[in-house]
């Protein structure tokens, strides 16, 4: 593999990891607060769809991004109500939401786009950051990316700092580990968890928008193809820590990038095997490398006063 090819591989790994990263960090926050949010997949799909529609209808990808953020919040709110107020089974309700969104977006896509499904949708602009982008040979291939990617990195850093150093972060961790204590200290567990699920929705909407208007500039039915579940797997793989989650997402991104890279290198591997690879990797990671007692103590359990 030459340097140029390697740079392309690196660049596409980062690009393919970005939706996982954004959604994964959202999921991490949600799980830290005690809500196992299985509807990431549905939220991403809704985000991707709304971004595509908004961008296509207005011609402005920024408005598309805005629409994605707005459109996902009701989905996140539904998940929050189901898992906190109604105390439904979080896994079942999450998967239910995923199916609902898949059906709704597919129906709406066929209604809105119909025969014009090949329509080019205006996408977000790419930027090349000044210093690292100018590195000879690899700068352009690796670092010339959609600006949302860099915004996402900034968001992740901010999230990490908030979780680590602020009282909000402490409250979020406590809501997942020891909700009774949070309740006794006068904070509302329900409110914290609502907030975290809505935040997961916000991050997922960015992830979805990145898929549709950042990366491939079109929408296809069910285009997330399990990326939301990979995001959840990356949280488990990352042992519910930001650094680990980021590493896991990059790993899955690289595994996905192999799909395009190996054929370019002339290595014949069955297509299905390559598509399967990130999931296989996630399975091995989740099965082999994570200990038992890592999850937030009350993950998946609705809080009852």
């Amino acid at each position: 593999m030459t340097w140029a090819l390697f740079a392309v591989f690196l660049g596409s790994s980062i690009r393919l990891a970005t939706p996982l990263l954004l959604a994964g960090i959202g999921e991490l926050v949600s799980e830290r607060s005690g809500v196992l949010n299985m509807s990431i997949e549905g939220m991403m799909l809704m985000g991707a769809f709304a971004a595509a529609v908004g961008s296509w209808a207005t011609g402005d990808p920024l408005l598309g991004l805005l629409l994605a953020i707005i459109a996902v919040q009701p989905v996140a709110l539904l998940q929050a109500v189901l898992s906190n107020s109604l105390r439904a089974n979080q896994i079942v309700s999450g998967i239910g939401i995923n199916i609902l969104v898949l059906g709704a977006t597919t129906l709406a896509y066929r209604e809105i786009f119909g025969a014009r499904s090949r329509a080019e949708i205006p996408g977000l602009a790419k930027i090349r950051p000044p210093l690292i982008g100018d590195i000879a040979g690899i700068g352009a291939a690796v670092f010339e990316q959609v600006w949302l990617l860099y915004a996402g990195v900034a968001l992740i850093v901010i999230t990490a700092l908030v979780l680590r150093y602020t009282s909000i972060g402490l409250a979020i961790h406590a809501a997942g580990a020891e909700p009774k204590a949070v309740d006794k200290s006068g904070l509302s567990v329900t409110r914290i968890r609502y907030g975290c699920v809505l935040f997961a929705g916000f991050m997922s909407s960015l992830a979805g928008a990145f898929l549709s208007i950042g990366d491939i500039h079109t929408f296809t039915e069910g285009m997330t193809r399990g990326a939301g579940y990979l995001a959840i797997a990356s949280v488990i793989f990352g042992k519910w820590k930001i650094g680990g989650t980021v590493f896991a997402c990059l790993l899955f991104g690289a595994a996905t990038a192999l799909q395009f890279q190996l054929p370019a290198l002339g290595i014949a591997v069955p297509n299905a095997l390559l598509i399967m690879l990130p999931y296989l990797l996630a399975l091995l990671a989740v099965g082999g490398l994570v200990g038992r007692q890592m999850a937030p103590a009350t993950l998946g359990e609705p809080y009852r006063r």
Partner: protein, 337 residues
């Protein structure tokens, strides 16, 4: 007897029937209404849609049979889910388990030389092979759960994706199950399986093609229902039960056996107990048995200081010291809830 799961039926079991029936019913009605609203929103006449829906599901013998056949698959996966769920496991990998079962059933039917076998083995063998394959696929998640503590939700989900892509791989590769490519337009699918290996139709009539899966599913449903309602395995751990679990750790082999049995049939008259209501019978039986239980685990019954079998005057004192009684405390006093 290792009683894994247990929970006495609540006293007011009758009224609890209502929500268990009403909630799914309400869900179906609500889902139908949402669906109709969606249909109306894209400009289709609702009566037309309803007519088409009825026509497609129960409008003709063929449609009815197709509906039944489809619901067989749902039911089978559902039974599996419920069983696992009783052990507090959530299996969301039905999709992958179906895919793997389908791959293996097709492979055996096409290339297993089973088509000429007598006695229905032609279709039974592929079916059994599929059962083994699907179960093995599920076992992967189970092994990961037991050995590495992997959350079964995420492992079954990931296995689902892998299973489905395995299926695509099998039908895309001519080296696997894909039918010989005669033209470039040959679809990515396997050959049709021989007639003898297809599930036989109940009526033998292609205008009403309900297949043998229906009686098989009903039989499995009965087995699962019995498992869930009549055996230790099927009982869900309730609050009282958890305390009993704690208690069981403190007691010895025979006591454990008895607690297992007791939890299994809370309504049954316990041996040696002749007290008033059901509940007290259970408690009394536990006490009697605990007192006479095998304390040393060596088959000898416990004796009092005098060496006699009958607990003497210090019986109450002995009972208070008894770890079984201490641990069971309130849970037992309350009896089955």
């Amino acid at each position: 007897m290792t009683a894994v799961e247990c929970a006495p039926k609540p006293a007011g079991a009758r009224w609890r029937l209502r929500p268990t029936l009403l909630v799914p019913l309400a869900a179906v009605v609500f889902a139908a209404l949402v669906g109709l609203a969606l249909i109306a929103s894209v400009g289709v006449k609702v009566p037309d849609a309803i007519a088409a829906f009825i026509d497609g599901t129960v409008g003709s013998p063929y449609a009815i049979a197709a509906s039944i056949n489809r619901s067989i698959a749902f039911s089978l996966v559902g039974f599996g889910f419920v069983l696992a769920n009783r052990a507090n496991l959530t299996n969301v990998g039905g999709e992958g388990q179906i895919a793997v079962g389908g791959i293996v059933a097709t492979a055996v039917a096409l290339y297993g030389h089973v088509a000429a076998l007598p006695l229905g083995l032609a279709f039974i063998l592929p079916m059994l092979a599929a059962v083994v394959a699907g179960a093995a696929w599920g076992t992967l998640a189970a092994v990961m759960k037991v050995k590495a503590g992997t959350n079964e939700v995420i492992s079954t989900l990931l296995l689902s994706f892998i299973g489905v892509w395995l299926l695509y791989w099998c039908v895309q590769s001519p080296a696997l199950l894909r039918k010989p490519m005669t033209t470039s337009a040959t679809l990515p699918e396997s050959l049709e399986i021989p007639d003898a290996t297809k599930l036989p139709l109940l009526t033998g009539d292609y205008s009403f093609p309900v297949h043998i899966g229906l009686p098989v599913t009903i039989a499995i449903a009965i087995v699962v229902a019995v498992l869930l309602s009549r055996t230790v395995f099927g009982r869900r751990p309730g609050r009282a039960c958890r305390r009993v679990h704690a208690a069981r750790r403190a007691i010895h082999p025979q006591g454990r056996l008895f607690v297992g049995l007791w939890l299994r049939r809370p309504g049954r008259r316990a041996p040696g107990a002749r007290l008033g209501d059901r509940r007290r019978r259970g408690i009394a039986a536990i006490r009697l048995h605990a007192i006479g239980r095998d304390q040393h685990g060596d088959g000898r019954r416990r004796t009092d200081r005098a060496g006699g079998r009958h607990p003497g005057p210090d019986r109450h004192h002995a009972r208070r010291r008894d770890p079984v009684h201490r641990a069971m405390g309130t849970a037992m006093r309350r009896g089955p809830q």
